[in-house]
Symmetry: C2
Subunit: 324 residues, 2 copies
């Protein structure tokens, strides 16, 4: 059993990737230095055992991966470069051992190494029942280049940077089959367990300097579309048939639930003028990154519409997961 | 019952005190701008129901106050000015209502208003059993002026910015008497429920530009003294009789436990040369802020000694709360 000192040493990085780390892990707080011309971007998100995951739905490395990924996704939605993270973990006194907690950190470290991001702080506390993992991320974006959800305008293209519904479809199977469904080659299981934050998209959007609205798809495109519509003072219309890979969901009764309200897909939904959209599509194509037109931004007041191939529109009720 | 939008609106600030808030609550992430000449200081700390508090030991406003205070205390220990905070709260589905959660935010807001600090982000999730409150704070300190625990040298004065043991003594009574002990005039109860972060001390230390080591007393002066000693490659010696208000603890069997290992007092323990100490004491006295000499820093290798009035020293074993 490691004591607190040994534990901190075991999770602390020996070297930092970024010269902006003035004081890293191991003092009362972390000190970072921002480069000139940049703003600092901050987000925090919490994952709770029994609500966001169980030991049956997620390998422990995936718990770590996902806890960091959902936060990095928030940075991506602002167009930011991920730089640092801090981890606050509340570990149950029974049912969890240090080796397991270490695997959660392994999952975070592996994802962090890709950007790279440095672990600069956090704390560990004991608790009674379920594990709670709260991650704070820090990034940076060029001054006045952050992507805001309130920037859509009527006439814009509504776009998506990746498929939706995959995570919900994977979770559905995981809840039925448990560990038997842990399949590294299944795109739906992987989408749920190891979501990929769309950092590169966010950077291309921010670097373009164009007027672009964006949200990451944590709560389903119905919910995220409504956030863009409300913040922009417009309506948005989603073309059902334009959703990426919609044909793969045809046979499922839950297809609307999964595609519109499933959430946890962590691609970006956004809006830009048709010209900007075409230019973004062109730039992204060079990097083999698809950009899907999934609808339109229309004059209105915060509504989300679903349009069928025959042109019929229905008002999408507020759905998806609402806390409380 | 408020939905998520209404809830966020109810906790969001309408105006921000700091012009550095580029994007506050209500988008994917917060964006802040640092002033030239400053570094950004970050800390995160988590409070768990059943471990750090219960509804019997703490009024809900105090839960909020303390969750923010313990983080601000980390900023104080770095010499930083508190600026922003983000709150991640996991609320049990049963046993807690929105009015109660709102009171936790009220406690945070009241403390935040004093500095002032702006609430710039966070998230709310549901969970099964106990409430978990994770707060991230952001401050700033002049470049290269942060206070580090590894800066003590043999020959330094070991000092304390306030009394210790008060919080532990208050908790002892709270655990025995519950709500009957909630006494706004009792210094021990108040020390436990509404700890005061020593921000002003940290600022005086940082502004002095002198070599000063500092830690906030979250885990007791035995533990914090050891952190300074280990990080500095010295020993430290605590003079029992020099501890502030030590005479008030004479009658209690738990006096060593409370004064040395009690923790949660959130004053600062630190070290500086005798000359610097005298100068700090002089400057702080003008603001009616006492600074107590409680011992010495000696040549050594990470040990903490306790010295009695007759000069006898004993080695202090590693005590206080260790996670895992």
């Amino acid at each position: 059993m490691k004591n607190e000192f040994e534990w901190i040493r075991s999770i602390a990085q020996e070297e930092y990737s970024h010269s902006g780390v003035v004081t890293g892990i191991g003092d009362d707080a972390a000190v970072i230095r921002e480069e000139e011309g940049f703003d600092t971007v901050l987000a925090v998100d919490t994952m709770v055992e029994g609500i966001h995951f169980t030991k049956e739905t997620m390998p422990l490395e995936a718990v770590g991966h996902k806890a960091l990924a959902v936060n990095v996704s928030d940075l991506a939605a602002m167009g930011a470069v991920p730089l640092y993270y801090m981890v606050s973990i509340a570990v149950p006194k029974t049912g969890w051992d240090q080796e397991e907690t270490g695997r959660i950190y392994d999952g975070m470290k592996k994802l962090a190494a890709r950007y790279p991001m440095d672990l600069i702080g956090g704390d560990t506390v004991s608790k009674k029942e379920t594990l709670v993992l709260s991650v704070t991320v820090v990034g940076r974006v060029e001054k006045n280049r952050q992507l805001l959800r309130g920037r859509a305008e009527a006439g814009d293209v509504l776009f998506l940077t990746g498929p939706v519904g995959f995570s919900a479809r994977g979770l559905d199977r995981l809840l039925r089959e448990g560990r038997a469904a842990w399949d590294e080659k299944d795109a739906y299981i992987q989408a749920h367990q190891y979501p990929e934050p769309h950092v590169r998209y966010g950077r291309v959007f921010a670097e373009s300097g164009a007027r672009i609205a964006a949200n990451d798809v944590s709560d389903g495109i119905g919910h995220e579309g409504r956030e863009i519509a409300e913040a922009s003072g417009t309506d948005v219309t989603i073309d059902w048939e334009a959703l990426p890979f919609v044909e793969r969901f045809k046979e499922f009764e839950e297809r609307e639930e999964w595609l519109l309200h499933g959430g946890e897909d962590f691609c970006l939904i956004g809006a830009a003028s048709p010209d900007v959209f075409a230019e973004l599509q062109r730039v992204l194509k060079k990097e083999n990154l698809p950009l899907y037109k999934i609808g339109t931004v229309d004059a209105g007041s915060g509504n989300v519409w679903l349009r069928r191939a025959d042109g019929e529109r229905k008002l999408l009720q507020s759905g998806g997961y609402t806390h409380f």
